[in-house]
């Protein structure tokens, strides 16, 4: 897949508040998808059938969530998308580069402080030092960790560690952003705040996002489309367009349409889990 110039100039000041950018009505890509699964099957050695015939496209500016019971192969899909694993069957189209992956745990290096952790990816890509620091600082400002650059991971709360992890991913100028239950281990209040900030970051740049979560509410709040997977072997059993326009505010969670949609998705999920 060809590289496209990235719209967000890295030097621009961190977005504050929510930014409205014109975007297409949810769903249908005029642009070619950034990520596309075609009939993907994954059978592990030992015979565990994790993913069964999954086809899914994610376009730029689209944030797609995957919900499903534990062990249904959601994380496997992310690993396949990132190229960490090759599918047993089927094909995947994804960018070669500019893929950001936020893992379940923040995977920070405990011997590096926040700044050096965030700069890790640039360092491994051998970018010059000044460039590295500039990018890292911009990303740190963007996730609201300004002033904590010299802290070590064991001096941070869980939420701040996850912010650091997000910042590290942002230094990659991602075209494709993969999230593997990033907020699963974080308390509800912090989690909702981080959801809001993630949306703010998402609105400021036009990456394609694939977000794996256990929480239906989180999926609906964040994404433009929610994909429901069945228990193992993971198959797509439902797809819901989320009609709420961006920017979204926390008040959305209290609205009746929001509850109706989460209820519908929950129904679908329960049907597939049996």
């Amino acid at each position: 897949m060809t590289m496209q110039a990235h719209e967000r100039s890295p030097g621009e000041p961190p977005a504050t508040g929510q930014v409205t950018i014109p975007r297409q009505p949810t769903g249908w890509p005029a642009e070619p998808p950034v990520l596309s699964f075609h009939d993907v099957d994954m059978v592990f050695r030992g015979g565990v059938h994790a993913v069964d015939q999954v086809s899914l496209d994610v376009a730029p500016g689209e944030l797609v969530s995957i919900v499903g019971p534990s062990g249904c192969g959601k994380s496997t899909l992310l690993r396949i998308a990132s190229g960490l694993q090759a599918p047993t069957h089927g094909s995947v189209t994804a960018p070669d580069d500019h893929i950001a992956y936020v893992f379940q745990d923040p995977t920070l290096l405990p011997w590096r402080n926040v700044l050096d952790n965030v700069a890790l990816c640039s360092q491994l890509r051998r970018e010059p030092k000044s460039e590295r620091l500039r990018k890292a600082q911009a990303a740190i400002d963007m996730v609201g960790l300004t002033g904590f650059e010299k802290r070590y991971p064991n001096q941070l709360s869980g939420g701040m560690r996850m912010r650091t992890s997000l910042a590290r991913a942002l230094t990659l100028d991602p075209r494709l952003f993969l999230f593997d239950e990033p907020f699963g281990a974080i308390d509800e209040i912090t989690r909702e705040r981080l959801n809001g900030e993630l949306l703010r970051i998402f609105s400021g740049s036009r990456f394609a996002g694939l977000f794996v979560t256990h929480s239906i509410a989180e999926a609906v709040f964040l994404s433009s489309r929610v994909v429901v997977m069945s228990a193992r072997p993971g198959r797509i059993i439902g797809e819901f367009a989320v009609p709420f326009p961006y920017p979204r505010t926390p008040r959305l969670r209290a609205e009746a349409e929001f509850a109706a949609l989460t209820g519908q998705i929950g129904e679908c999920l329960r049907g597939g889990a049996e």
């Binding site: 290096l109 070590y152 064991n154």
Partner: protein, 310 residues
């Protein structure tokens, strides 16, 4: 040594919380910054703190001395008192008589030299072997059994052979010393290198990091706690190895082990006790040095080097 009373964390946490920009930050700042001086100083006076710290070990030492005199004067008949001469006799003959004490110091110096050389060789070899083993499965599989065999082989059983090959002097002493202290370095370094979390490996794989970058930026730092543990264990073994080797390889400058042997033969138990004290001090010094290095290197990030709440 820094002593922290339970109240030490409270003021600094409160301060940090007051300045933190968001509520979430307060949770993170609750731990005091590393290296920050304990704020408890103003609350308990230092004599009390010193007494609380030094009290128990001093009491144990007093009890030890009492027991010593009890055995020496009460349990032993004067004829057998040489088995445990009174403490002040040991100090007078062994430490205050400069002729005797300088002999002991010289022996200690020679043994230290052997121990440090053996330790350095073992560290270099052990580290290299472990890094090689961590790189590829087949290297590990082909070397590891022999590393274990080297450990289970009674080193003392090798001494006659080592003597025939390398002579009964300094070279053999250093060799025995390094063989004895090699194993902990290999196992701990290897364990450390292999303790990298899978998700961190994934991260480096995603960044297409090369093998060297992975080793230098991920595996070695992650292995540091293990490496340092290996060095600590191995330092103690190196001292033991050097003293034991003194017994077997007697040519050249006598080490403290050789002196122990001489004093035993002469039944000069005052000097024998003094020499034993000094040799244990050597091991202790090396251990403390290694511990200090460990604390310093890991000060920012490893739980073992952080101040414990009381």
């Amino acid at each position: 040594m820094t002593i922290t009373t339970p109240s030490a964390t409270t003021p600094s946490a409160a301060q940090a919380a007051a300045v933190s920009p968001r509520a979430e930050a307060a949770a993170g700042a609750a731990r005091p910054a590393v290296g920050e001086p304990a704020l408890a100083g103003g609350q308990t006076s230092w004599p009390r703190r010193t007494a609380a710290t030094a009290g128990p070990p001093v009491a144990v030492f007093a009890a030890f001395c009492g027991l010593w005199y009890l055995v020496s004067y009460v349990a032993l008949t004067p004829r057998r008192r040489f088995l445990l001469p009174p403490l002040h006799e040991v100090i007078r003959v062994g430490f205050l008589d400069w002729g005797n004490f300088s002999d002991i110091l010289r022996g200690l110096g020679n043994t230290t030299q052997v121990a440090l050389s053996g330790f350095a060789i073992a560290s270099a070899v052990g580290f290299t072997v472990a890094v090689l083993m961590a790189q590829t499965r087949w290297v590990e599989r082909s070397i590891y059994p022999y590393a274990v065999a080297l450990q289970t082989l009674p080193v003392l059983a090798m001494t006659p052979l080592v003597g025939l090959w390398f002579g009964f002097g300094l070279t053999s002493r250093i060799l025995i010393c390094s063989v004895l202290s090699l194993f902990p370095i290999i196992t701990n370094t290897l364990f450390g290198l292999q303790s990298v979390e899978p998700s961190q490996r994934d991260l480096f794989a995603l960044m297409k990091a090369g093998r060297l970058a992975r080793l230098w930026r991920l595996e070695l730092p992650a292995a540091l706690p293990g490496i340092l543990t290996g060095l600590r264990t191995s330092g103690g073994l190196a001292v033991i190895g050097a003293i034991v080797a003194d017994f077997f390889f007697r040519q050249g400058q006598p080490g403290i082990g050789r002196l122990l042997d001489i004093y035993r033969n002469a039944l000069e138990t005052e000097r024998l006790y003094a020499a034993i004290f000094c040799s244990s001090l050597l091991g202790l010094a090396l251990f403390l040095l290694n511990t200090a290095v460990t604390k310093y290197v890991l000060r920012n990030w490893h739980a073992s080097a952080q101040r414990k709440p009381s």
